[in-house]
Subunit: 348 residues, 2 copies
C-alpha cells in the first residue's frame, strides 16, 4: 500500500484535520501522480458537513486535482513518469451501460465511482480525494494537462470548467446566441470565459451590482442586476440560453421569462430545496429548463485541450491547506475570486 | 355585417345561452365558412368561468371549428365556395416578428389573435369563436380539411390534435423511442395515436386502472398505474419522452425520475398552480422539462394532411349545443371519450 498524507473529516461535525491513510498499490492499469494543486469546490463543504446524506467518513474531499506522474502500471500506455496529470469528479464507472458506452460516464446507470465520498466499482472500497499528497487512478480516468497553462489555475477546470463547458457544448451555444450566466462565482466565471470563447454574446445576471466590473473584465458583454425590476423587464424574451450556476434558492419562473421562444434554462447549480415552477413559464414559448452534470472523460480532455489552445484557466486564490476552514467561510460568503486552490506543497 | 347565431357567456358567472351577434363582411382576404361541428376544449370552460383573468365578455367560445366555405373574398386563392375548411386556436398574428417569420404564429411576440376571447390585430375588435353558425377568417388562418375523414371527429384535431402532434414532431419522437403519455383525456388520446403513428413505443401513465383497456384499444403498448409505487419504480429511467397532458396539480419530480439520460418531459397540460421542482431531478441525467403550445398554421395543415393519409381522427361524443352545460360537467369529471363535439345543426 502507498502511505498517503491528507486532510480528512472524521465525522460530519468534525471539520478537516490532518489524516494519514493508505492508497492501493499501482495496478497494471493505474497511474499514480503526486498532487501539486487541488481546487476547493462548494460541494466539498456540503459533503464534509453531511448535507447531502449518505456520507462516508473519514472523508478526504477534493476533485479538482492536478500533479505529476510518479508511477505507472505495466499496461499503462497513455502516461509516463514525469507527465502532468489531472483527475476530476470521477475515478471509475461501470463502463458497460448505455451512458458509459456513449462516453457519458457522468450519467453511468450503474453508479460511477466519484473521486471521494464514494465506493470503487467493487462497491466496498471507499475513495479518497485530492486534499492529499498523492493519488492512484485507473488511467482511463486520468486527464492530460498541458504544460502551457498555469498549473494551479488549471485545477478548477476539472470540475468548475467541465461543468460549464459541457452544457454549452451540448446545447451548441455559440455565435449569434445570447447567453446569460446567472451567478458570478466559481462556475459562473468559467461560464463567461467559455461563452465568450464560443462566440456568444454573454450577459451576467447577478444580485450584486458590485460584480459588474469583474464580469466585464472576465469578458462579459453586458451585466444585469437581477434585484432591479426595470433591468429585468428590459431583458424579457432576450436570451437563447441561461446558464444557471446559482445553488441558493431562486425563482425559475422569473428567469424563464427572460428567454426567447425555444430558449433553454440550464441548471448546473442545485439549490438544496425545490423551487416552484409553473407550466405557464414553459408553454407559451416552447421553453425548457434542463440540468447538466460535469462532463464525460473524453469531453473533459477536449475541454482541457480547448483551454490550452485558447489560454483559458480559472481565476484563483492559492491557499495553504491549514487555511482551509477560513477559506470555506469566505466561500460561503461568496468572497473568493473565483476559486480557492490548495497549494499541496503546504501539506508537507 | 353578417348576422350570426351563437352561444355566449355574458359575464363570468352566467354560463352559456343563445346570443345573436354580427361578424364582419367578407374582406378581400377572408373566407367565410358555415360551421358544421365545433369541438369542446377544457379551455372553453376555464375562460367562460373567468379563471384565467382578462376575459372579454360577451364570450362565444370554441376553437376546434370545421365547416364548409360559403363565401370568399376577391383576393382569396386557396379556398372556393363548397370547400371544407377549419380553424383552430388562432385567427391572426402580427406576421412580422421572429416567431411569425418562422411559422411559429403560436409564439407571436407581438401577441397573436386567438379565435375567441381575444382582440383582432387592430387591438380593439373582439373575436368570437366556434359555438356559432358561421365564421369569417383571414384565409391565411384557414385550414384545408380532407373529405376523406369523418368531419365531426376531425374538429378536435384543430386543438387537441395539433397540441400533441407539434411537440412530438419538434422533439422528433419516433422509431426506437419510448414515449410515455401522461393522462388519458382529450389530449392524451391524441398523444397515443400520434406516438404510435410515428413509430414510438407508447406507454400510458394514468392514476386510473380502469383506463387500461381503452388505452390499449387506442394503440398504447403499455399501461402504468401511477398510484402504484411498484409500477412506477419499475419504469425508473425507462422513457425518452413524457408527453404530459395533465392540467391538474402533479409532481414533476416523480415523472422526471422515469426518464432516461437526456430525456424530455413535455408539458402541454398546464396545472393552475405551480409545482415544486428540484434541480436534482434534472442534473443527474441531463434531463429537461419543457412546454409546448398548439402549433403554427403550416404545421397544423401538415398535421391535418398526416391525419388524412393515416386515417387519424379524434374519438368523440357528438352533442346538441343545448346540452353544453351537462357536457362541461362530465368533462370536469373526466367522463368523456374523448372529446365532446357540438353538432352545430342543433343551433338552428
Amino acid at each position: 500500500m502507498i502511505a498517503t498524507k491528507g486532510y480528512a473529516a472524521q465525522t460530519k461535525d468534525s471539520g478537516l484535520a490532518p489524516w494519514n491513510f493508505d492508497r492501493r498499490e499501482v495496478g497494471p492499469h493505474d497511474v499514480q501522480f503526486d498532487i501539486t494543486y487541488c481546487g476547493v469546490c462548494h460541494s466539498d463543504l456540503h459533503q464534509i458537513n453531511g448535507e447531502w446524506g449518505g456520507e462516508i467518513f473519514p472523508m478526504v474531499p477534493g476533485h479538482e486535482i492536478v500533479g505529476r506522474v510518479v508511477a505507472v502500471g505495466s499496461e499503462v500506455t497513455r502516461f509516463k513518469v514525469g507527465d502532468l496529470a489531472g483527475t476530476g469528479c470521477m475515478v471509475d464507472s461501470c463502463r458497460n451501460c448505455e451512458s458509459c458506452q456513449k462516453g457519458l460516464e457522468q450519467y453511468c446507470l450503474n453508479g460511477n465511482t466519484l473521486t471521494y465520498n464514494s465506493l470503487e466499482q467493487d462497491h466496498k472500497t471507499p475513495t479518497y480525494g485530492g486534499y492529499s499528497n498523492t493519488i492512484v487512478v485507473n488511467e482511463d480516468f486520468v486527464l492530460h494537462i498541458s504544460e502551457k497553462l498555469d498549473l494551479a489555475a488549471t485545477a478548477p477546470l476539472l470540475c468548475a470548467g467541465i461543468t460549464t463547458y459541457s452544457p454549452l457544448r451540448h446545447w451548441k451555444v455559440g455565435k449569434g446566441h445570447k447567453l446569460a450566466v446567472l451567478g458570478l462565482g466559481g462556475l459562473g466565471h468559467m461560464g463567461i470565459k467559455f461563452g465568450v470563447a464560443f462566440g456568444a454574446e454573454v450577459t451576467v445576471l447577478s444580485t450584486s451590482p458590485k460584480k459588474e466590473e469583474d464580469a466585464r473584465k472576465l469578458g462579459a458583454h453586458n451585466f444585469i442586476v437581477t434585484s432591479d425590476p426595470a433591468q429585468l423587464k428590459s431583458a424579457m424574451g432576450y436570451f437563447d440560453f441561461i446558464l444557471d450556476t446559482v445553488s441558493a434558492e431562486h425563482d425559475y419562473n422569473q428567469y424563464l421569462a427572460l428567454l426567447k421562444t425555444d430558449g433553454v434554462h440550464i441548471c448546473v447549480g442545485a439549490p438544496p430545496t425545490p423551487s416552484a415552477l409553473t407550466a405557464f413559464s414553459l408553454i407559451p414559448g416552447r421553453k425548457s429548463i434542463a440540468g447538466s452534470n460535469i462532463g464525460g472523460i473524453a469531453e473533459t480532455q477536449e475541454m482541457l485541450d480547448f483551454c490550452a489552445e485558447n489560454n483559458i484557466v480559472s481565476d484563483i486564490e492559492l491557499i495553504d491547506i491549514k487555511d482551509i476552514h477560513p477559506a470555506y467561510e469566505r466561500m460561503l460568503k461568496g468572497d473568493v475570486r473565483y476559486r480557492f486552490v490548495i497549494d499541496m506543497a503546504t501539506l508537507k
